[in-house]
Amino acid sequence: MTLRLVRHDHTAATARHRRRVRPKFLLIGLVVAMFCSVLLLNGLVRSQIGIDARGAGQDGDDSAVPASVSSGGPVIDLTHGRRQSISLPSRTVALTFDDGPDPTWTPQILAVLAKYHVPATFFVVGSSVARDPDLVRQIRAQGSEIGIHTFTHPDLAEVSTDRVDREMTETQYALAGATGELSYLVRPPYSSEPDALDDLRFDVISRLGQQGYVTALVDVDTEDWQQPGVGAIVHNAVPEDGQGGVVLLHDAGGDRSETVAALDRLIPEMQADGFTFTTVSAGAGLPPANFPAGPVDLTLGRIMLVAVAIASHIVTALEWSLLLVGGLVVLRTLLVMVVALRHGRRVRRARRLAGRASPLRKPPAGPVTVVVPAYNEEKTIEATVRSLAASTHPVEIIVVDDGSTDGTADLVEGLELANVRVIRQANSGKPAALNAGIAAARHEILVLIDGDTVFEPGTVAALIEPFADPAVAAVAGNARVANRKGLLARLQNIEYVVGFNIDRRVQDSWGVVTTVPGAVGAYRTRALRAVGGISADTLAEDTDLAITLGRAGWRVVYAPTARAWTEAPATLGQLWRQRYRWSYGIMQSLWKHRHAVVESGASGHIGRVGLGLTALFQIVLPLLAPMVDIYLVYGLLFLDPVVTAITWGGVLFVQLLLGAVAFRLEGEPVRSLWLLPAQQLVYRQLMYAVLIQSIATAAAGVALRWQKIPRIGDFSGVPTTRTAS
């Protein structure tokens, strides 16, 4: 769009630049690291855990498992070098619930247990405890006891001993944080009856035994996880021949309504049949499974729960903002589809009518003044000036040299074109250069153009056409990317076509154009002078000016056929600085004109609709865009990767569709759109990083210097045969 002129005290700046410690990067690094761990922690706590498929992977060698264990009772005490297998007394049943706690099913199960005054044993998954600590408090309050079912439900025989220790310890911490208690009772995930133990799994429980854990396996499996029907669960739950037993049920890992219903039947039926319900520890004659945690474990446990709660809140906030992003994207898509397409039709119709030349609406016939501010534009200025001189409409060209050091002015004078004037001034910035040009302008209409832009022969004519309406003070042209070599330039081309130009069509349809690109715009000289020329208090003087004119009651319109070709930054660094200035400048302009939002009339319309659209789609939406990336990674790792990939692909498809519409409107070959997926990877991230930095700069009240982007004069993408007709 525009470029800024600056005099740098470069050497000194760079020297200090290098010496300075950059605390900013410390902050960025820490914030990123924290976000990663928040997502990791939350993913760990919320990821889908497997349910106990019976006998999963337990077909290994079992020659080392002592017969007394494999054929013994379900409670295996291997502490203190002991080896005791304990069965429950006859007609004594310990109901055990694995994989919970679950916010839906655990309370329902507790309600049934409470109804019959029956205790049970819950083998909890630590991550679920950390997520819903209140559930284990309810379990304890109901009189049931808690055993450990690891933190993330892995098959303990398949993971390292270190991981086993962490799984146990983290669960203990979660338990301590939630209830102030620990547990010595453990049930390894995917375990079932003692006779299903293989050597690997016996090793695991032996090691746990050495640490003081008593393993509670199962001798009555209801198979409720398969949802075999309420009747089947009730039938399965009754030990044979009036014996006692540890009964396996589940309170999480799927729809447990059958389990709840079966519980409500089997307890009274078995009680009537003489069965007694107890906890595993009491049934096995052991002391209560839960005992007070020491101060260290208690503290660590509470800290852990706070950390998980914070992560949970942050992720919830992320999810809401993701929802907001989704809403905005849909809104934008609808806007573009409806408004921009209608705008396209209107423009075509207007051009057909213009061919018949209504006498009431005649565009200005006299010559117009073109002002080209230039600071070190040696490489591009010749192409710019020559393209202007070749305009079909008569022009007076004023090149304002803003203290260039590379002979820009001499070069222009050397061209010896009749209608070109050069004004030299000491370096004083682009607004001053423009104002000098405006002051020297002799004609009623002014065209402002950057020194790195080339016009088509018909651009000026197309640009001034809307001035037939005396209420029009400014016309925005259609800035396009001239250089098409290299990925970055192509990506910018997509952004110009799909982003800027489409947005401008929407703004034009609603009469709220908030930016007349510095690369190509035309103004009514009178209006421009009336508002005091170009202001210098924002870095986006093009946006500021358009809003100022709109607030003053003038019309600002868009002429999509007035194409100008500008050289886009060719490196990421240049692009960064250009966008940094743009986004900072746009924020400055929005802030400067914020009062318009509550004003009436034209000013209020611009304020509410124009500034609103700009803020929403140029600040808020790009600022929230990181959510999409964060959630893509998060979803692939912790949620269903297929669903995540499909969702992401769907969003991409909608964008492609949008892109196709935009490219057709602009008459660009739609095949260039194949790069759109690549835009998602580096480009978009750069855009929001820039925005965040702009916001930080704005908040800190730091002066952002004007910056000059070096040009090489690549106008390879300009269609030489194309005219504006």
Partner: protein, 189 residues
Amino acid sequence: MNQLLATAVRGDPADNVTGDVADAVIAAPVIAAPVMPVFVDASGRRRKLVTGLGWLVALACLAYLGVIGVSLTGTSVGPLPDLPSVASRTVVFGSDTAGLPQGALEVPVPAQPAPVAAAAPDWAGAAKVAAARSTAAPKAAPKVAPKIAPKTAVTTAPKVVASSSKARTGAALATDGTSSSARTGGASR
């Protein structure tokens, strides 16, 4: 990030990455205009505030990382209770036993198969069973007489199989009788 990008273009003396909070001081007003640019705070107070906030956020993040590190890397938890050998302590189980017949049962044990205590299969109960080692509770009634007509003889005490060798103890199995094999299908092993 910014630095990388900056390095990429450092070759050009006309360029300079600017606008960082940290760079603010260098950014002397180069805009040749008498107007104060929007957002710019000449006093520098806001810059100090934002920098301070930045440090606070950094510290909070650091603290959070530390917390997560500590709570997710712990591999041991305070001492678990010293469990006495099962047979050597009093066992009280069943908490839905209010009003049910009570009984105490002496279970001598360890290192050998638990004797099967015959008791009533009572559907009223045998529910609350206290098992105490004879030495600890010599006065405890050794057996519970069925309060309700017994139908079959079944164990009412926790059955303990303890062994110190890997060899199958036929005695344990035999003594345990009805316990594990039939119930769990363990006999198939």
